[in-house]
């Protein structure tokens, strides 16, 4: 229904444009030069205002009504059920919504059906209310605007004001996104920590958050994230062990040794490597690299698990090679030619120049490339989901299966457990992930900024 409303607002916008342009022409009585603004600006001004009013009311109304709706549904849970934990209440509400939408609920009973019925009536009321409000606002603004049209009306200046405003709002979306991320992650995280002590999460060594959760709340001794941190660290370490030397040497070769022709072949090759989706790397890791490592290990008498940290780490390393090499290539190329000349002029070889002048000069940039690579490895999901394990082993042995933060987030969210229950630990892990990668990113971006400034 609301998509129809959106469509009508769009049509009204187009109509407002045509009508206003026409009206501007008619108030000018044929003398278009007399108008302060050309008719098209009058049209644009009215259209923009109609669109902003219509869509603004629609979106704000949706947000506000969704907040209200949820509260109303919680209130609709019959008191006869006694006091319930937050998890149970969430479960009842989402089952009720599922019943109302004709989907499969985890359980069907009177309470859930009551919630479902309430949901249906509320949704109906909201949709009608919102449609009336939205179309009313758009129509009102249209009538106001069209009566304003006159020969001296500064439609162009006003349109440009609106356009500038829209531009600013667009730029502000970046900030809204960050706020959205922090707010959505932090909200659930705080709820989670109100039930589980933060120290148990950060320093506990047993991770099995959903075992025994049906009793209503989580066992604080089973949400220790240390095995996940250790697994993430192990895989990241292996990945960087592959990516840093290969990427760095490749960058050095590209910037100082390769002929133009060689560069013309190698650079696109690395770009292809960079453009391959991570799910493809995951497939490669799971179906080729892991069995290969397992069989090779068996041939030399090593027991390598078929979901080893090694396989996931190596493939992740391959994925990060082009990342490190292209960033390093950039910073190495940014070292001014005068420094190279200075070194060659003193009779240094290429290798000496690279080792003793270029690399030290490019070091901040290279460090920042490595940090960004680490941040990428920590946050990488598909490769580890497909090639690393699910079990939270606490081990430093790269031949065994380990699990990572991202794997557990995916397992929790896509698992069979009721979403509201799994959200706590999943969003807390997500928040941890966000904070850690943010720190790496900020340091890396600072370093690279300083580095750029020093050679500008």
């Amino acid at each position: 229904m609301l998509s129809w409303v959106a469509l009508i607002v769009t049509l009204m916008t187009a109509g407002a444009f045509v009508a206003s342009r026409h009206r501007a022409r008619s108030v000018a009585h044929g003398d278009l030069a007399a108008l302060h603004s050309r008719p098209v600006y009058h049209g644009a001004y009215t259209a923009l205002r109609v669109a902003i009013a219509g869509f603004g009311v629609l979106i704000v109304g949706l947000i506000l009504s969704n907040i209200g709706l949820r509260a109303a549904l919680f209130a609709a849970i019959p008191d006869s059920l006694g006091t319930l934990s937050q998890i149970e209440r969430d479960l009842i509400v989402s089952d009720g919504v599922a019943i109302a939408a004709g989907e499969v609920a985890s359980r069907t009973d009177a309470a859930r059906e009551a919630v479902g019925a309430r949901y249906n009536t509320l949704m109906m009321a909201r949709n009608i209310g919102l449609a009336v409000l939205t179309l009313g606002a758009a129509a009102f603004v249209y009538l106001r605007s069209i009566t304003q049209i006159s020969v001296p009306f500064r439609a162009r200046n006003r349109t440009e004001k609106i356009v500038q405003g829209l531009l600013m709002v667009s730029a502000g979306i970046a900030i809204l996104t960050t706020i959205g991320i922090v707010a959505s992650l932090l909200g659930q995280t705080l709820v989670f920590f109100s039930e589980i002590p933060i120290t148990k999460f950060l320093f506990g060594t047993l991770w099995s958050p959903l075992s025994g959760v049906h009793s209503g709340s989580m066992d604080p001794d089973k949400v220790g994230a240390i095995p996940l941190f250790a697994g993430t660290l192990l895989i990241t370490f292996i990945a960087m062990l592959v990516a840093v030397p290969v990427g760095l040497f490749a960058a050095i070769f590209l910037s100082d040794f390769a002929s133009n022709r060689a560069r013309g072949i190698i650079k696109p090759m690395l770009e292809i490597l960079a453009g391959i989706p991570t799910v493809v790397y995951g497939f490669f890791a799971a179906i080729t690299v892991a069995p290969f490592l397992r069989d090779t290990g068996a041939a030399v008498g090593l027991t390598i698990s078929s979901e080893s940290a090694l396989a996931a780490g190596v493939v992740m390393g391959i994925m990060i090679i082009p990342f490190i090499s292209s960033l390093s290539d950039d910073v190495i190329n940014a070292v001014p030619q005068s420094l190279r000349d200075g070194s060659y002029g003193l009779g240094a070889t290429k290798a000496e120049t690279i080792r003793k002048v270029i690399l030290p000069a490019a070091l901040p940039g290279i460090v920042s490339a490595v940090l960004l690579g680490v941040s990428r490895a920590i946050g990488e999901t598909m490769i580890v989901v497909m090639a690393a394990g699910q079990g939270a082993n606490l081990t430093a042995n790269p031949f065994e299966a380990v699990t990572t933060v991202t794997v557990q987030i995916v397992a929790l969210i896509t698992g069979d457990t009721e979403a509201a229950t799994a959200a706590g630990p999943a969003f807390t892990l997500g928040f941890t992930l966000f904070c850690v990668t943010l720190i790496f990113n900020v340091i890396a971006l600072r370093l690279v900024r300083k580095y750029q400034e020093s050679y500008d």
């Binding site: 900030i175 960050t178 991570t278 995951g282 497939f283 179906i287 391959i318 946050g379």
Partner: protein, 579 residues
């Protein structure tokens, strides 16, 4: 004129013997560094080649699918096509007896065979009538068998002449030459392995006995007795195992014409003769006992051949009876391999042989549509604001830092954002292209903004001055002059961003696009899946036949990415301006 006097050149520190030696070492260091670079690049190239080879070598199998032709009756207003298939199967192989064999006969046919007929009936192209030869899609495991995934079948002309004699349910085969020696050798090898396993087991008992015996002196009372009993137990077990192994070894060594049993852990052997197929159950070098799988027309001596399949029956889903059926049909030219369009025209299915990527492709298309229509205008407008209108202040700095950071935030975090904000807060339908598109738009924004800003910045200020000097407003200057000039760069950046979004998987898992969806989405609010998620789902499926489909889906995905990047490169080359 200038003098030709040449004073003897002073011996410089740089020309002495020591310097020369040093020079050599220094040049070697340079060669080493160069070699490291070449090794690094070769490793990266090797990884790329290995990856692509693994994908494409698997993907090519999807090119074709296999059909079987048998007669089937269809009445004019038939609607239970599953029954039609079952009846056709039963009638095509009337000799199948017992539940197992019947199930194996049905197992040759894909569920898709009935679907195909239903589709044909709906399209009005299904010919009704009885006894008409019709094509049926074969099941995934038979398809894989025909591709040689479950071992290679070898057919060999025997040397001797065969005499057949029926012996109740089995048939005794006697050849004038040692035609069954191969089979016998394999049986013996199998027995030898078994015997070795038994001996190793016996060894382990010995080890247990030793450990327990060593513990004896430190024990007393009931514990002592228990341990002693345990030792006795181990000894008995050891004797038993060794006895079994000895018996096996004796069997292997026996020179007589004794026939040995073939088990399902050994390769399978068949004999084709008199229009039927026998499965060998016991062999000696010149004689064998066979069980008829395809009934023989008689026991006349005549042409015969020996078939062997190297993968033991226990290790493959296609059983010996099915192998015999398939080989019989193949010999009669009733199995054909045709081009597989189904992969591109059907949606996901639990049956690999009828699963396709059409639904995922359409899902990707809707998702990309949402992503593009949000990320492109917002990204370009944000870039215009930051480059042309924003005052240089802390606020703008903050936006910049934000954009740069967002570009490096893990994609899964965007997924969580989508789950919490779009799904729960705004009530966007779960698994919908709308939800996916929104999340991917936020992820793509930084890429588009950064590329657009660079492109806008590259437009020389003189163009702006010229327009402003003619009395254009700042907004007009930007939209009439700067933006069109910056457009190629902006489009290039946008395409690259969209290519990233097209391959993105993790955030979509968070908003439920991982669900098993067979319907083709008809709008942005329908449940849908996308290509990379389809790859993920199939990669996780247990059926072997999904492997090649996963690879093929990846090949399609990579194809799209290549095309998009090519367009970006062409745009860049075509419109590249150096100011």
């Amino acid at each position: 004129m200038m003098s030709e006097t040449t004073m003897p050149p002073a011996v410089s520190v740089h020309t002495g013997e020591a310097a020369k030696k040093r020079m050599k070492k220094r040049h070697n260091a340079e060669k080493r560094l160069r070699a490291y670079g070449i090794i690094a690049i070769s490793l990266a190239a090797l990884a790329l080649v290995a990856l692509l080879y693994n994908v494409f070598a698997r993907a090519v199998s999807v090119r074709t699918e296999h059909y079987i032709t048998v007669a089937a009756d269809i009445s004019k207003d038939e609607n239970d096509f599953l029954k039609v298939v079952k009846t056709a199967a039963r009638e095509a192989f009337p000799f199948a007896s017992g539940r197992t064999q019947k199930r194996e006969v049905y197992g040759l046919f894909s569920d898709g065979a009935a679907d195909d007929m239903r589709d044909a009936a709906e399209a009005g192209t299904l010919e009704a009538g009885s006894g008409i030869q019709r094509r049926f899609l074969l099941s995934d495991s038979v398809d894989l068998y025909l591709r040689g995934v479950f071992g290679t079948l070898e057919e060999r002309e025997p040397e001797g002449a065969l005499t057949l004699s029926e012996d109740g349910k089995t048939v005794l085969l006697q050849s004038t030459a040692a035609d069954f020696n191969d089979a016998l050798g394999l049986v013996k090898a199998g027995l030898a392995q078994q015997s070795e396993r038994l001996r190793r087991e016996a060894e382990r008992q010995s080890a247990g006995i030793e450990t327990l015996t060593a513990r004896l002196p430190s024990l007393e009372g009931p514990e002592l007795d228990d341990t002693k009993a345990q030792i006795e137990g181990f000894k008995a077990k050891r004797a038993q195992l060794s006895g079994q192994a000895d018996a096996l070894d004796a069997t292997i060594m026996a020179q007589g014409g004794e026939r040995l049993k073939l088990t399902n852990r050994m390769p399978s052997f068949f004999v084709r003769s008199n229009d039927g197929i026998l499965k060998l159950t016991e062999v000696s070098s010149t004689t064998a006992l066979g069980k008829p799988l395809i009934p023989l027309s008689g026991t006349a001596a005549g042409a015969w051949s020996l078939l062997s399949l190297d993968r033991p029956e226990i290790g493959r889903p296609v059983k010996d009876f099915q192998v015999a059926l398939v080989e019989d049909l193949r010999a009669k030219d009733r199995i054909e391999e045709v081009t597989n369009w189904r992969f591109f025209t059907s949606s996901d299915s639990t049956q690999p042989e009828i699963a396709g990527i059409y639904g995922a492709l359409i899902g990707s298309m809707w998702t990309m549509l949402v992503t593009f229509s949000l990320a492109f205008p917002i990204g370009v407008m944000a870039a215009i604001y930051l480059e042309e209108f924003a005052p240089r202040n802390r606020w703008t700095d903050f936006i910049e830092v934000n954009i740069n950071n967002l570009a490096a935030v893990p994609s899964i975090v965007f997924g969580l954002l989508g789950l919490a904000v779009f799904l729960h807060f705004f009530g966007v339908p779960r698994s919908s292209p709308l939800a996916g598109g929104l999340v991917l738009a936020l992820m793509t924004l930084p890429t588009i903004i950064i590329a657009s800003r660079a492109s806008i910045r590259a437009v020389p200020p003189s163009i702006r001055s010229a327009a402003l000097g003619l009395g254009a407003s700042k907004v007009q200057t930007t939209f009439h002059h700067v933006l069109p000039l910056a457009m190629p760069g902006i489009l290039t950046g946008t395409i690259i961003g969209m290519a990233q979004a097209l391959g993105e998987t993790a955030p979509l898992l968070m908003i439920g696009m991982v669900a098993f969806i067979t319907a083709v989405p008809e709008g942005i609010t329908d449940s849908a899946t996308v290509l990379p998620v389809q790859v993920f789902n199939w990669a996780n499926a247990s059926e072997r036949a999904f492997d090649m489909r996963t690879a093929a889906a990846i090949a399609v995905l990579l194809g799209f990415l290549v095309v998009m990047n090519m367009i970006a490169i062409i745009l860049r080359k075509r419109f590249e301006r150096r100011w």
